[in-house]
């Protein structure tokens, strides 16, 4: 028997194997730990989040120590506390054998709240924020990838800057888990599953969700490395390159400078950021398939990608046309930068964002709402969902003329089921219902009409910058404690999706609901008697 020739592993294959091993390792580590008697998915998730987050604290403490910063000790101590708390919670808990959807949603929301509390703790321990509400909103901006902040980035230690950037990057990585495991239960927005729909750009990559997750994660890690190199080559200092690569690919938006990317005053850096933001808003499975086969036609074949790029082009042309000046290379770059920053929900600012005309502001706001492609790490409502809504309106118009017409909604070659359609519409209406009271609250708490509305939209879509008097990033500073808490809520809702949050809240209030229902039934019986 002839021996098999040795297989030469390529760099992407090695990266994939490594990512798969890290994911499997963390999973089995948590599974080994949770042998307690208390069967609780939420408990295990909270513990797991704390246990797996603690190394980030240690890493950033080491970075700060090497840089000679003041925050290494608070980061180290808070990391130890978070790790111990996580180990204790996991040790007493056990993952349930069956997990209904409502419990799954509760677990996801609990995980997000666990991450929020850990990051809030770090902000308070290091003195980055003194007030709890400010620390909470800073933490929410970190874990949801929103570029909204009350602190001047240049006054932060390197340890804290890295912590916030890594927080954004890891939360986007956690979103990949949500994309594969949770969002399919809500229809489009994640990968396909029972009841959900997907176009070709958001199909599963492997039968097992674990393998799909590993593949997507390897794309994410690989692209982050590539963009760190690109920033470096464009002339950014190496630490800034790494931090900006982390916040670009996660569509987070935090920067090392208070003036964001614009502070570097470099066209090359802005072009790299533009490309990075476009990539962050693109579907990860689509990129994986295109890269694996080196087949760029996959992008052109994806109807969602075509619409995504088409929207960017239309808005850039509109901004340039409405600016009232003949377009130059610099003004075109600024227009493309602002557009990609809004649609990918990154929230970076270029040096020329102050010159956007009124019409451009309105279009950028719409792009924030639309967000990136489905199965991407970007926020917003997602391009595909809006395409589905457009088709829905068209069908209803047709039905007004032809009453008995049966219209099936298609996107490219994929057809959309009625259940998924109803879920998309429900999600949009629920988000609007949440948005309106928060706009009222923001307006009562110190923002003008424009600032309140645009900041609420920006927070819900996890962008960060907004328009109005406090533009581009002064909105959080203008708000009081109630405004900060509302912004925290909006950012979390925007990141996780409204339905899981409300279902989780309903799950928590289930005993109360049951009591009320029983009381009403008893009352009705009495009336009947």
């Amino acid at each position: 028997m002839t021996p098999r020739p040795p297989v030469r592993a390529s760099a992407p294959a090695l990266l994939h194997r490594l990512t798969a091993k890290v994911l499997a390792g963390s999973g089995s580590f948590i599974q080994r730990l949770c042998k307690g008697k208390l069967e609780s998915a939420s408990g295990v998730t909270v513990g797991a989040v704390w246990v797996l987050t603690a190394p980030v604290f240690f890493l950033c403490a080491a970075v700060d120590f090497l840089d000679g910063g003041p925050d290494y000790f608070p980061l180290l101590v808070s990391g130890v506390i978070v790790e111990i708390a996580g180990l204790v919670v996991v040790r007493f808990g056990r993952f349930p054998s069956e997990l209904p959807i409502s419990r799954l949603f509760v677990a996801v929301v609990s995980g997000a709240l666990a991450a929020l509390s850990a990051v809030t703790f770090a902000h308070l321990a290091t003195g980055t924020s003194i007030a709890v509400d400010v620390a909470l909103v800073e933490a929410a901006a970190t874990i949801t990838g929103t570029n909204a902040t009350t602190v001047d980035a240049e006054s932060l230690s390197l340890g804290m800057i890295s912590f916030r950037a890594l927080g954004q990057w890891l939360s986007a990585a956690a979103m990949i888990v949500v994309l594969v495991r949770v969002l399919p239960h809500l229809g489009v927005g994640g990968l396909d599953a029972d009841g959900g729909v997907s176009t070709r750009s958001a199909r599963r990559l492997a039968p097992r969700s674990g393998s799909t997750m590993a593949r997507l994660m390897s794309v994410y890690v690989g692209l982050t490395g590539l963009f760190a190199m690109a920033y470096l080559l464009a002339g950014m200092p190496w630490m800034d390159s790494v931090i900006h690569a982390l916040t670009t690919l996660s569509s987070g938006g935090f920067s090392t400078r208070s003036g964001s990317i614009g502070s570097f005053q470099s066209g090359a850096i802005e072009w790299v950021a533009i490309l990075g933001m476009l990539v962050a808003g693109t579907s990860l499975p689509l990129m994986f398939r295109a890269m694996r086969r080196a087949d760029l036609h996959r992008f052109i074949r994806s109807i969602e990608f075509r619409v995504y790029i088409g929207m960017v082009l239309v808005v850039v042309v509109a901004i340039l046309a409405w600016s009232g000046e003949w377009p130059t290379l610099a003004s075109t770059r600024h227009a493309i930068f602002a557009t990609t920053s809004a649609i990918s929900t990154t929230g970076y600012l270029s040096s020329g964002l102050g010159t956007v005309p009124f019409g451009g502001e309105a279009l950028l706001l719409v792009l924030m709402v639309v967000g990136g492609m489905s199965a991407s790490v970007a926020g917003g409502f997602k391009v595909m969902r809006f395409m589905v809504l457009g088709q829905y309106i068209r069908r209803e118009l047709t039905k007004s003329i032809h009453r008995s017409a049966v219209g099936k909604i298609h996107l490219g070659r994929s057809s959309i089921g009625e259940t998924a359609l109803a879920r998309i519409i429900g999600e949009l209406f629920l988000a609007t219902m949440i948005l309106v009271p928060v706009v009222l609250l923001f307006a009562a708490d110190g923002l003008g009409v424009e600032g309140a509305f645009t900041f609420a939209v920006s927070s819900l879509s996890n962008v960060g910058f907004a328009f109005g008097d406090a533009w581009p990033l002064g909105h959080l500073n203008s708000l009081g404690a109630l405004g900060h808490l509302s912004a925290t809520f909006l950012m979390l809702v925007g990141r996780i999706s409204i339905t899981p949050v409300l279902v989780a809240m309903g799950g928590i209030g289930e005993p109360t609901q049951r009591t009320i229902r029983r009381w009403r039934l008893t009352k009705r019986d009495e009336i009947v008697r």
Binding site: I101, S102, F105, H185, L186, G195, A318, W322, P357, F358, G359, E361, A362, L363, L365, V366, L389, Y392, I393, R395, E396, L397, K399, S400, I401, R403, T419, A422, R423, I425, G426, E427, L428, F429, L430, M433, V436, V439, L440, L441, A443, A444, L447, G448, V449, E450, A452, F453, F467, T499, P500, L502, V503, G506, G507
Partner: protein, 490 residues
């Protein structure tokens, strides 16, 4: 003579005849007042009547009738009367001929019961023209087609579809087995209410002219006033109280009022929409009072907050003070009121409370379904179950409505209007409310928008009054009709 078998032409002719009548009455008022414009209004009436007669008697209804044709007939007749309604403004010289589009704006704003104006100096406008301006809102409030169906047996086209295309709300409520009787009853109630409000306003201290014109625009929830500073001109609590009651009553469903008048007040209790409508206005009032506490003295606070909660909650748009000086949260609350509007089947504009109810139920049903994926949950409102088809239509309407607000806002902002004025202008025009936020507040006029911007606003007003779908389908049906005619000739 061979008649053209095109329904939209015949319906437009009937609508033009109704407007010619309004012009004739206004010319009589102008003659009695002696302030001029009587002759110009008479000339306008003759021109409109001639065109109306030519269209009406020169055409007949199409042999095939479907909903698309009904949509197109209603939408085209509204375009026709809007153009005719601009004539008196131009002939009297109040608006010069070179600004024909502004006359059209005033006319469309009148017929659609929006109440936005481009006039700034009301003292130089003849009384007859002010009367005509109020009267077109009165005609537009209940609907010209409803009127035509009620009084013109020779129209030759009946059916609920035609009325449904014009009436505000997702469905048209029958008050009788015969459609013509339904239309007659609606107009009877409408006329009685106008008379009642006129008398009440007269007792509150208004002159006969002011009482009648304000009754016209109150019952139509239009909001045109004969003074530049609107209701603030009268400085009378009693006038405001009468108007608040009038607006609140006319912002509710007329068919429910009819049922209540014929079968007792229990009819109101059976309609869940009315509870939502009253709760919404009451909540807005409480919110406005809370927000304005400390900014206004308490009497003014209560008075202005209640007036604006009702005026914008019913999309009337009368003004008593400048709410632009209020806190931003108060302005946001008013914008939400403009967006939602009054009840379905009323003369109010906006998205309608019934649709908001359906959307709420729909969203919460999806929330329940996310938790119990296999559950079958009907959408209920009070004791009624909403059919899936109706719910889908409502959802489609709301999505399209919000989409139009955004498109309108973007277009206006693209023309150089600041975003707050642009988007609130879009909401106000589509909801037929009248005033907006920013530079287009209640003490300002719509000249703050650029000329093309006003054309955009006119389209939004028509879309809003015709409830979006008929206006969208107007072009579709018209193109289809034209191609059919061409095919027949070919």
């Amino acid at each position: 003579m061979r008649k053209v078998a095109v329904t939209p032409v015949r319906v437009s002719g009937a609508a033009l005849l109704a407007i010619a009548g309004a012009m004739l009455i206004s010319s009589v008022v102008a003659a009695v007042d002696g302030g001029g414009a009587g002759f110009d209004l008479l000339v306008s009436a003759l021109i409109t009547a001639s065109i109306g007669c030519a269209l009406f008697y020169g055409s007949t209804v199409s042999p095939t009738a479907d909903s698309a044709l009904a949509f197109a007939s209603v939408a085209w007749s509204w375009v026709a009367v809007s153009v005719a309604g601009a004539l008196p403004f131009l002939l009297t010289g109040v608006i010069p001929w070179v600004r024909f589009d502004d006359a059209l704006f005033e006319s469309i704003s009148g017929f659609t019961c929006t109440g936005s104006t481009i006039l700034s100096d009301f003292t130089s406008v003849p009384q007859g023209l002010l009367f005509f301006r109020s009267m077109i809102q009165w005609f537009g409030g209940m609907g010209l087609i409803v009127l035509a169906v009620a009084v013109l047996p020779a129209l030759g086209i009946g059916g609920l579809e035609l009325i449904a295309s014009e009436s505000p709300g997702p469905t048209a409520d029958r008050l009788s087995l015969k459609v013509r009787d339904t239309a007659r009853r609606l107009w009877l109630l409408y006329g009685l209410l106008t008379g009642l409000i006129s008398v009440a306003l007269l007792f509150a201290g208004m002159s006969i002219f002011d009482a009648v014109t304000h009754a016209f625009t109150t019952v139509a929830t239009g909001g045109y006033s004969t003074y530049g500073d609107s209701i603030a001109h009268f400085e009378s609590f009693l006038v405001e109280a009468v108007l608040i009651v009038g607006m609140l009553y006319c912002g509710a469903s007329f068919s429910t009022h009819w049922h209540a008048a014929t079968a007792g007040l229990g009819a109101y209790r059976r309609v869940s929409e009315i509870r939502w409508y009253l709760w919404m206005i009451f909540s807005a009032f409480v919110l406005l009072v809370l927000v304005n506490t400390g900014e206004l003295d308490w009497v003014d606070n209560l008075r202005d907050s209640l007036f604006y909660a009702v005026s914008l909650g019913t999309s009337t748009g009368f003004g008593t003070s400048d709410y632009i000086a209020w806190m931003p949260s108060a302005q946001v609350a008013l914008l939400v009121l403009m967006l939602v509007g009054g009840m379905s089947g009323s003369t109010a504009g906006g998205m309608k409370v019934l649709r908001l109810q359906v959307v709420f139920r729909y969203a919460f049903r999806e929330l329940l379904r996310a938790r119990h994926p296999k559950a079958i949950i009907p959408i209920r409102m009070g004791r009624t179950t909403i059919e899936e088809q109706v719910a889908a239509k409502v959802v489609g309407f709301v999505l399209l409505y919000l989409g139009l607000v955004v498109i309108g806002g973007i277009t206006l902002a693209g023309l150089g209007v600041d975003p707050v004025t642009a988007f609130s202008g879009s909401v106000s025009a589509l909801g037929n409310a009248g005033p907006a936020l920013g530079e287009a507040g209640p003490t300002s006029n719509f000249l703050v928008f650029p000329r093309i911007g006003r054309v955009v606003l006119m389209s939004l007003m028509l879309f809003g009054r015709l409830e979006v779908f008929p206006a969208m389908l107007m072009l579709v049906a018209s193109f289809r009709g034209l191609s059919q005619i061409r095919r027949r000739r070919g």
